[in-house]
Symmetry: C2
Subunit: 400 residues, 2 copies
């Protein structure tokens, strides 16, 4: 009650965060659309009034800044005296579209605020520098973490050359994903299952293992949320055992990563929309180097990075889940936890016994959201996230 | 922004909820103090002004209503025209203190609002009826769930004759509480461990198993939060194996529940502050009725109910955790989840394999709270909670 009686006190900083959150909301509206380009939102504001706004369109279409400038012009406004909020540093190079920074300089706003700098170390900061050189003041790193959460895969691909991978797991409170007799449908409820399709829809690649393909015969496409684009499906299939009549091969393209160079089988799979990629093998259990082999998962992610993959949604069984974790390929866990106890049953990820608690794989929780009756818990590898964040913030120091 | 421009619209109902939440806050301030009496808070309000407030004191001391009336008088007010908010129906019987309902009738407030009725089916509603008979209007069931959360154990003991038991577990995201070599200190961090002492402090009994006593030799008392009262410690000790030099026997009273009637050992333990209670045995694995025996845990809870125990904080190892779950003794899970994966390790609760997912023990999540770096997840048995809630709400129907 006392708060409403006082005059509103809004600092320039909190205004910046307010408008940047609106720009982030615009970028979220194109979460399923822009890959492999980043999702970007832009708002142009003068005296607390939105003059124009927009978000990046599908590949080849206009970027957010151009969409917002067009919207502004359609509403009969100019950018004079306005501030432009954009979730990513405007591009300064000629790609499929002309540089956004040229369009902004031509529009001559009073100021430009960006949430994060371009993660590409070769171009990062050049867009801001060109704006400054044209006499337009620039602020950076407003809502940087929220902006990074829009595009962790794009930033990962630009900086470390591999996609950002989250491992989707559905498990009981005691960490079990299936009974010993294999029963697993459904541990989680309809809300959690529909939510899982949101994460498939935003990814570039939905990844699973050949065991899941053979046993559950899933489609692995996006069905429970409307999407303008289907991700590529991918299978880790060490011995090239994917059946040619698997449902996953119906529809869009499928990548099959294997160590088994069987040209005849590969041809038959390729006649069914698949692309077979032969990769090196590594021991499937690092602790038993003379045992079974499997696809080198790190090599698979490097291959994906070279093929414009930003985000990987991995939804495998417990064996591949364990292998992805053991090989350090997992950046984030997307854990749907059901309010049940299953007792002696199959683990959500098959991992060897540890000798020391300090050797446990450590994450950080950053979200716990009810999806009745289940919980969605997100956890990430702290170091991997901090490294991306470092790459999209201007270097600290004098003169910046 | 539009909301602050409109005149405040506050209905009588939302005012009631506002003041009742304040009364609930007062009751929370005596969470560690009042057992076996319920925690109760009371606020007396006129024209939006608090005239007096208070909470129930330790056993033998004044109840919340009397504390609030005294506070009101000390501030120089009378209850004329005021509304009294109290989290539990005022008592109408002579216990250790005179009936609160008499004090309220003498004070003649304009209205009395209670969050829940007295759960004792023999007295429930009589306090409200006496107020009405004295011409004081009464409302009930305002914030009933929040009020029940103050006193689930008191309500359980009054209605089903057993305490409310929560099972405290600390585990990894994959449901493991210790490595196979036994290492378990510490899976969770200092904030989660301190929080666990809050739950010990509010309980009447802290329960563990003789295996934990022999292996970890814990004190099981309240140390990380200040408390005016220590709960009784209790041990499930089927074969009466608690060492006489166990640290848990230092300090306050300890109950030892056993099936092993060894008078000499019992005498030695009783010389060390313990009370040995011999109970019937049941098969330790219901699926193997000719196997090992253990203490009948349901009989133990009935015994506790007869001995004024409201809330049991169970903090056992995986074996007793499984036994409590299997015997239907667990009302609530208090799960501290650490952001780690332990892989092949000891389960948080030892439970047999199921043949059917429909047979899984089902709970409902009702809280997920970050306690960095961990998460506190609370889940309860829906049916048990609903049954308590039914017992503290006035029966629906005409004339109520």
């Amino acid at each position: 009650m006392s708060a409403s009686a006082r005059p509103p006190e809004v600092s320039a900083d909190s205004n910046d965060a307010h408008w940047m959150r609106r720009a982030i909301g615009l970028a979220e509206s194109v979460l399923y659309l822009t890959a492999p380009n980043p999702r970007v939102g832009c708002v142009i504001v003068r005296d607390g009034q939105v003059l124009g706004e927009g978000a990046t369109q599908a590949v080849g279409g206009p970027h957010a800044e151009v969409m917002a400038l067009r919207d502004m012009q359609a509403r009969g406004h100019s950018a004079a005296g306005a501030t432009v909020y954009v979730t990513l540093e405007p591009c300064s190079h000629h790609g499929r579209t002309p540089p956004c920074v040229d369009a902004l300089i031509a529009a001559r706003p009073a100021r430009v605020v960006v949430a994060m700098t371009d993660p590409n170390p070769l171009v990062g900061g050049k867009g801001l520098a060109r704006l400054r050189a044209a006499g337009i003041p620039v602020s950076a790193a407003v809502c940087a973490e929220a902006a990074l959460a829009l595009n962790p895969g794009f930033v990962a691909r630009m900086t470390r050359r591999t996609p950002w991978l989250w491992l989707k797991l559905a498990a009981s409170m005691d960490g079990r994903s299936a009974l010993h007799n294999g029963a697993s449908q459904w541990i989680t409820g309809p809300a959690a299952r529909a939510d899982g399709h949101h994460w498939r829809a935003r990814s570039c690649v939905v990844l699973t293992g050949s065991g899941t393909v053979r046993i559950d015969n899933p489609q692995m496409n996006v069905r429970h949320v409307p999407t303008p684009r289907q991700p590529i499906r991918a299978i880790v299939d060490t011995r090239l055992e994917t059946p040619e009549d698997a449902r996953i091969l119906d529809g869009g393209p499928v990548w099959i990563f294997t160590c088994h160079d069987d040209a005849a089988k590969a041809r038959r799979l390729e006649a069914r929309n698949a692309r077979v990629i032969v990769l090196p093998s590594v021991p499937s259990r690092p602790e038993a180097p003379n045992g079974n082999l499997r696809v080198d998962l790190a090599a698979m992610l490097r291959w994906m990075g070279e093929h414009d993959v930003n985000e990987v949604h991995a939804e495998p069984g417990s064996k591949l889940s364990g292998a992805l974790l053991q090989s350090g390929c997992v950046d984030e866990l997307l854990l749907y936890m059901a309010p049940v106890l299953l007792g002696d049953a199959q683990p959500m990820a098959r991992l060897p016994a540890l000798q020391n608690l300090d050797d446990a794989r450590r994450f950080e929780f950053f979200e716990a959201t009810p999806l009745a009756p289940d919980l969605r818990i997100r956890a990430r590898v702290t170091q991997n996230w901090r490294e991306l964040l470092r790459c999209v913030q201007p270097p600290a120091g004098p003169g910046v």
